[in-house]
């Protein structure tokens, strides 16, 4: 058996790529990016989160380009970002200052600042709404705009965290400010044991299905069972960068929508005197991913024999690009390696017949 160089296939490949256009050509109607951005916003959020790149417009474009495939869209965004240089890090942000659009707690019914349901599907009947088949979109928009205009303005106020009061009571550990520069998984190879910053960045970018499944395994008994969501909040974070001509000043560059979760767990300290916390934060509105991240954050702190407690298992298998790339490579030609497998089997069969 030897390596065999093969040629050909170029025309077939070109035709295959053209065929992708064929699959997008079934209608004369264009898919406007504005529509994707505004009406499939949770899908856009998921793509931005897994790409680690917040750009609603480009996420919409990527989804349009690949027929709505999340992993392809993530691939496109990651590839695009790799063509750009990085000019700034934002000033360090504290999510306590976010402009809140939803905030709930499963731990306390009365929380300072109140529980704000915001927009949630939690209380909807999961019945198909066939009237949306022919929706009057302009009417919907003008109805909502009128409702907005009728509101009595209330200035947004930042809310203290639910965990703050527990910290004051000494029921949750307080850590000193750690100014260690963050590890950046986009520029460095992940090493183990991973720093906390590497863990949080990796989980924030992880595939939603992967970390949700792992968190589910924890709840089913393959881990520290049932954490309580101390606080789940969604809101806008304002981004600032230093003004390079005078670094004592800042420039406001925009805001991003994020979801953050803090989960409380049974005491795991030696004396069983404090609650343990897990933390999750992700781009956009994707609560289950934020909660799953917080569950896994605590599991990794805890350590143990379950998959969800194994740092290398959790952090190296959840990246959308890497996992899909690796699984996908299986379908590419493996003619030579497969031939050697066949040869081995044939040899064994011959030996057995002799």
């Amino acid at each position: 058996m030897a390596y065999v160089a093969v040629s050909g296939g170029e025309e077939a490949i070109e035709a295959s790529i053209r065929l992708l256009e064929y699959y997008r050509s079934g209608t004369e109607m264009d898919l406007e990016l504005e529509v994707v951005e505004n009406k499939l916003s949770l899908l856009v959020d998921r793509v931005m989160s897994e790409a680690g790149l917040y750009s609603r417009r480009y996420a919409a474009l990527a989804l349009k380009q690949c027929e709505g495939s999340v992993e392809e869209a993530v691939f496109l965004l990651r590839a695009y970002r790799s063509t750009l240089k990085r000019s700034y890090d934002t000033r360090t942000l504290d999510t306590a200052s976010m402009r809140i659009v939803r905030r709930i707690s499963a731990a306390f019914k009365d929380i300072q600042g109140g529980q704000i349901l915001g927009a949630t599907y939690d209380y909807t009947h999961r019945l198909m709404n066939f009237s949306l088949e022919h929706e009057d979109a302009p009417a919907l928009q003008s109805r909502m705009r009128e409702e907005l205009a009728r509101q009595n303005p209330v200035l947004p106020e930042p809310c203290v965290r639910v965990s703050d009061s527990l910290k004051e009571e000494g029921l949750i550990e307080r850590f000193p400010l750690d100014e260690t520069p963050p590890f950046d998984v986009t520029q460095n190879l992940l090493e183990f044991p991973a720093s906390r910053s590497a863990r949080l960045q990796t989980l924030a970018r992880a595939d939603m299905g992967f970390i949700s499944g792992l968190a589910y395994s924890v709840l089913r008994g393959f881990g520290q069972v049932h954490p309580t969501v101390g606080e789940l909040r969604t809101g806008y974070l304002e981004l600032e960068v230093p003004y390079l001509q005078n670094e004592s000043e800042s420039l406001w560059i925009g805001e991003v929508l994020i979801t953050e979760a803090e989960v409380f767990n049974a005491a795991d300290d030696k004396d069983q005197l404090k609650l343990a916390c897990g933390y999750g934060i992700i781009f956009g509105r994707n609560e289950n991913k934020a909660i799953a991240m917080a569950v896994l954050d605590h599991e990794l702190d805890q350590g143990g024999d379950y998959p969800s407690q194994n740092e290398e298992f959790v952090l190296t298998h959840g990246d959308s690009l890497e996992m899909n790339g690796f699984v996908s490579h299986l379908k590419l030609p493996h003619y030579v390696t497969f031939q050697s497998k066949l040869d081995a089997v044939r040899k064994t069969r011959r030996k057995n017949h002799e």
């Binding site: 790149l53 200035l155 420039l251 406001w252 560059i253």
Partner: protein, 141 residues
């Protein structure tokens, strides 16, 4: 107004308003582009509220431009890829640095408008605030 306040107003304002302000400056002063608008990345750095460590959440795409107006440089950085806006914002920044920006009243008007819009939207969210009432059985516990 500091740089943060001005950039926040301009980044959220209607592009035509920003253009009109920059045009008014350019009608009286010569603005030279030092660094043409260009896209790049900005990494979001956060503090983890649980263990107080710093970490990176992810990146945003920003556009950046630098102009010079009669010896004073102006810089603008804003999320997205609206090159016209970022160039106009750099002109306004240069005018501020040169001390020839005269449209603070317009900025204040825009700021009020934006604040009102945010407060109205906030009111909409606050309508979903839950008022819990303890049931008898719970109160008895």
């Amino acid at each position: 107004m500091n740089k943060r306040e001005i950039s926040k107003i301009l980044a959220r304002a209607d592009a035509a308003c920003v253009r009109a302000m920059a045009d008014a400056i350019k009608a009286e002063h010569e603005a030279v582009v030092v660094k043409a608008p260009e896209k790049s990345l900005t990494m979001i750095q956060l503090r983890d509220p649980v263990q107080e460590t710093l970490f990176y959440l992810g990146e945003v795409i920003v556009s950046e431009a630098v102009v010079e107006l009669e010896g004073a440089k102006g810089t603008a950085v804003v999320m997205g890829d609206d090159f016209n806006r970022v160039l106009d914002m750099a002109v306004i920044d240069a005018a501020c640095n040169r001390g020839v920006f005269r449209q603070f009243a317009e900025l204040e008007r825009l700021a009020k408008e934006q604040e009102l819009a945010a407060a109205r939207e906030n009111a909409l969210f606050l309508k979903t605030m839950v008022n819990f009432t303890s049931m008898d059985s719970e109160a008895a516990q």
